[in-house]
C-alpha cells in the first residue's frame, strides 16, 4: 500500500466539512438505536441481543404500513405526505412493542432469577430465531425497500456554501460550452440515421468522438473551477432523524431523572430487591422500560429505512445497526442516556473520518478500535461511571 498517496489524499480538506457532517448524521442513527439498548440495559442489566431483530421487525412494520397506504414500487402512488410518515412511525413502534411484549413475557421474565449468562444466551438464541424465521416467513427473505422517494416530503438537500468556486475559471469553462452543445447537437441529429447508440457507422463514431472530446474539455474546465469550492449538502430527511434523536434523548433524560416512573426505573436499576421492598412493582417497571426501549428501536428502524434512501429490509437488517448501536451504547457508557447519543455520534464521525482519509475498507472496524481504546483508558465508557475492576 502506497502510504504517501494516502497522505496526500488525507490532506484534501475540501471534503472534510462535508464528511464531518455526514458523520454526525450517520452517528445519529446509531445513537437513536443505542438509546433503546441503553435503557434496557440500565434496568435489566441484560445485553439485549434481540434488540437488532426487534429493529428489523419494526422496519418490516413500517414497510407494510407504507404498502398498505399504496406506496409500492410499481404503479401510481398517493402524493407524499407527513401523515404517511407518522402512520409508518406508529406502525413500526406498535410492531416493536408487541414483539417486545412477547419476548419479555416468554423469554426474559422466566430467566430473570437465573445467572446473567443464561439470559444472554436466551437473547442470542432469540435473536437467531427471529432472524432465521424472518428469512423464511417474511416475504420469503427477499430484500425489500421502502419507497422513500414517493412517500417522504423531505426531499433534497440543505446546502451550505463555505467557499465558492473559482469564478474566473468557471467563466472560462462557460466559453467552451457552445462548442460542446454544438457537437452534442450534431451527434444527436446523426443518431436517428444510425442503427443504435452502440452500433454506429464510422461517421457516427467520429461525431460521437468529437462530442466526447468537447464534453471532456468542458468538464475538465468546470472541475478546475469548482476544485476549491467547499460546500456542505445535508439531506433534509437525515436532519429530521438527527433532530428526533436529540429530542428523544432530552425526553428520555427528563423521564428518567424527573418523573416518578423514572425514579422507579432508577431504583430498580440500582437494586432489584430493595426496590421491590420499597413497594415498586418491578414487573411493571421492567415491562415499561422494555417496551419503551423497543418502541425506540421501532422509531429508529422507520427513520433509518426511510431517510437513508434505498435501504434494504431483510432478515439481517437489524444485525449491523444492532451491533453498532450496542457498541455506541458501551462507548458512551452503557445505561447512560446522553452517553449513548455521544457514543453514537463519536462512532459516526470516526467512521467518516476514516473514509475521508482513504481507508474506506476499514470503515466498519474503526468503531471497535475506538471502543477498545476508550475502554482501556476509561473502562466505564465516555460518560459512564468509571468503576475500574481492581486487579
Amino acid at each position: 500500500m502506497d502510504f504517501s498517496l494516502h497522505l496526500v489524499a488525507a490532506f484534501d480538506l475540501t471534503t472534510l466539512p462535508q464528511q464531518l457532517v455526514n458523520g454526525l448524521l450517520n452517528g445519529a442513527i446509531y445513537a437513536l438505536i443505542a438509546l433503546g439498548y441503553t435503557m434496557v440495559y440500565g434496568v435489566l442489566k441484560l445485553i439485549n441481543f434481540a434488540h437488532g431483530e426487534v429493529f428489523m421487525l419494526g422496519a418490516y412494520g413500517a414497510l407494510f404500513v407504507s404498502w398498505y397506504l399504496g406506496y409500492r414500487p410499481d404503479g401510481a402512488s398517493p402524493p407524499a405526505s407527513y401523515l404517511t410518515l407518522i402512520l409508518m412511525l406508529l406502525g413500526s413502534m406498535l410492531v416493536c412493542t408487541v414483539a417486545a411484549f412477547f419476548i419479555e413475557r416468554f423469554a426474559y421474565r422466566p430467566m430473570r432469577s437465573q445467572p446473567r449468562i443464561a439470559s444472554l444466551i436466551t437473547a442470542i438464541g432469540l435473536s437467531l430465531l427471529l432472524q432465521y424465521s424472518a428469512q423464511i416467513f417474511l416475504l420469503n427473505g427477499t430484500p425489500q425497500t421502502i419507497q422513500a422517494g414517493k412517500l417522504s416530503p423531505f426531499v433534497g438537500n440543505v446546502t451550505l456554501n463555505l467557499r465558492g468556486p473559482d469564478q474566473a475559471k468557471l467563466d472560462e469553462a462557460e466559453k467552451l460550452k457552445p462548442s460542446m452543445t454544438a457537437a452534442a447537437a450534431a451527434f444527436k441529429a446523426r443518431l436517428p440515421l444510425e442503427k443504435g447508440e452502440f452500433d454506429l457507422s464510422p461517421e457516427g463514431k467520429k461525431l460521437q468522438e468529437e462530442m466526447r472530446v468537447a464534453e471532456r474539455k468542458y468538464n475538465e474546465a468546470v472541475n478546475a473551477g469548482t476544485a476549491h469550492a467547499v460546500k456542505i449538502a445535508i439531506p433534509k430527511g437525515q436532519v429530521v432523524l438527527f433532530v428526533t434523536t436529540i429530542f428523544l434523548m432530552a425526553m428520555l433524560t427528563y423521564l428518567v431523572m424527573f418523573t416518578k416512573q423514572g425514579r422507579a426505573m432508577r431504583a430498580v436499576s440500582h437494586d432489584f430487591n430493595a426496590a421491590s421492598l420499597m413497594g415498586i412493582n418491578i414487573d411493571n417497571v421492567i415491562v415499561f422500560t422494555f417496551l419503551l426501549g423497543s418502541a425506540l428501536a421501532g422509531a429508529g428502524a422507520m427513520m433509518y429505512c426511510t431517510f437513508i434512501p434505498g435501504t434494504k429490509i431483510d432478515a439481517f437488517t437489524g444485525l449491523t445497526p444492532g451491533v453498532k448501536a450496542f457498541t455506541a451504547a458501551v462507548l458512551g457508557g452503557i445505561g447512560n442516556i446522553p452517553g449513548a447519543v455521544l457514543g453514537g455520534l463519536v462512532m459516526g464521525v470516526a467512521e467518516y473520518v476514516v473514509v475521508w482519509a482513504g481507508y474506506d475498507s476499514y470503515r466498519d472496524a474503526i468503531a471497535f478500535v475506538i471502543l477498545i481504546i476508550v475502554l482501556l483508558f476509561h473502562p466505564g465508557g465516555l460518560l459512564g461511571s468509571s468503576k475500574v475492576e481492581k486487579v
Binding site: N22, G23, P73, G141, Q208, R216, A233, G310
Partner: protein
Amino acid sequence: MKPSIKTLAFTLVSSIVLGAALTGCNGGSSSDPGKTTPPADDSGPKTTSTRPAPPKDGPMAEGDTIKIGTVCSVTGDNKPWGEDSYQGSLLAVEEFNAAGGLNGKKVELILGDSASKPDQAKTATEKLMSQGVIALIGEVSSGNTIQMAKSAFPQGIPVVAVGATRTDLGNEGTHVFRVCYSDDFQGPVMAKFAYDLKGCRNVAVMTDTSLPYSQGLSASFIATFEKLGGKVKEHKYTSVGGTNNYSGQLTEVKSENPDGMFLSGYFTEVGPIVNQARAAGITVPVMGGDGWDSDQILASGGDAIVGGYFCNHYNNADKRPQVTDFLNKWHAKHGGKDPGTTMGALGYDAMALTLDALKRAKSVGAKGILDALEDTVDYKGVSGDITLRGMNGNPEKRAIVVEITKKDAAGNWQKFAKDFIPADLK
C-alpha cells in the same frame, strides 16, 4: 505427588509422539478418501489446461429414480440467490419428468442447504453423495462451490456450478463445470463497454469487500480498464457488517469528478448507492455486472437507477425460444413474477444442461454424465449457448449489456444495448 506444568507438558508431548508413531506404523493415512492435492497454482488466476481427473469413476444410478443433488444457500446471507437457483433447478427437473424422464425413469432433485457457509456446503455435498446422487448442481458463490468440488473429486461426481465466477475454480479437477461467466470475461466486457462505447476515461469503482464476487469483478474490470488507458479509483464498502449509508464514500467519489461509476456489488447495495449518489449530485453513468439483475433494483434505486447499464445473460425482450419458454414456465409457477435474481435462469440452465447430458450419456451414472458434460457443444441454454468441449469447464457465452429503463406494462425493464462475444475482447 504434585502434578505440575511439567507433567502437563509431558502428557502433551508424549501423546503427540505416541500418536505420530502409531499412525506412522499405519503408513500414514494416505488411503483417506477426501484427501487431494490439487495443483497449487501460483501463476495467477488462469485456468490450467492440465486439470486433475477424479481418481475413480463415480457411482451409477441405483434405485427407481435418478438422484441428482443440489447444494443451495437457501438460508443465510445468500438466501435470495440460493433460493432462486433452487427454484430454477426444480423447474428444470419438473419439466424433464413431465416429458417422461429418462426412458420413463424419473429424476429426483435432493436439496442440501449450505447456510451460505463453505463448511456446510461440504457437509451438504457429502450428505447428498451418501444418498446416492450421481451429479451435483450448485452453489451461487465460488467459496461454497470450491468446497463442493473438493468433496466430489474423490468420488468422481460432476459438479455444475451455478454462479461461481472465480477463474481458478476449474483447477479443482475435470469434474467441475459452470454455466455462468467467469470473472475474466464479465469484467473486461464492462471495461470495454465503459471505455469504448460510453467514452469513460476516469471511473470510480465501488467494491463490496464482504463479497468475493464483487472483489473479483472489480479486479478484472480495473485491470482491463487500465490496460485500455483509463484511470480508476477504487472505493470500498461492506454489505455484511456494514450499513446502507454510503454518503462518505460518495462524497469522496464526487470530489474526484469521475465520468463513470462501476458498481460491482449485488443489487441490494447498488440500489441504495445509486439512489444516494444521485441525491448527492453525482450524475455520471453507472455500470455493473449481472449481480444487478433483479427488479428489486428498481425498488431500491428508484428513478436514480434508470439509465444504468449492466452485463446480463438475457433480457425479457430476448426472443430466443429458450428465454420465452423459461419465462413462461417461471411465470406460471410463481404467479407471474420474474425470477428474483439472475440465479433463477442460471440454476435452470445448470440443471437442464445436466439433464441434457444425462440423456446423451452412454451410461446412467456419474461418469457418463461427466463425459457427456465435457462433450457439450452448443447447448442452447436460457443464459446463452454453452460449449464445454475443451473449455476446461468454462463456457464461452455471449454477454449482453442492457440499459435499465422504467418498467413497462409487460414488466420489461431492461433495454438491450450491446452484445459481446469472447472474441470481441481479444
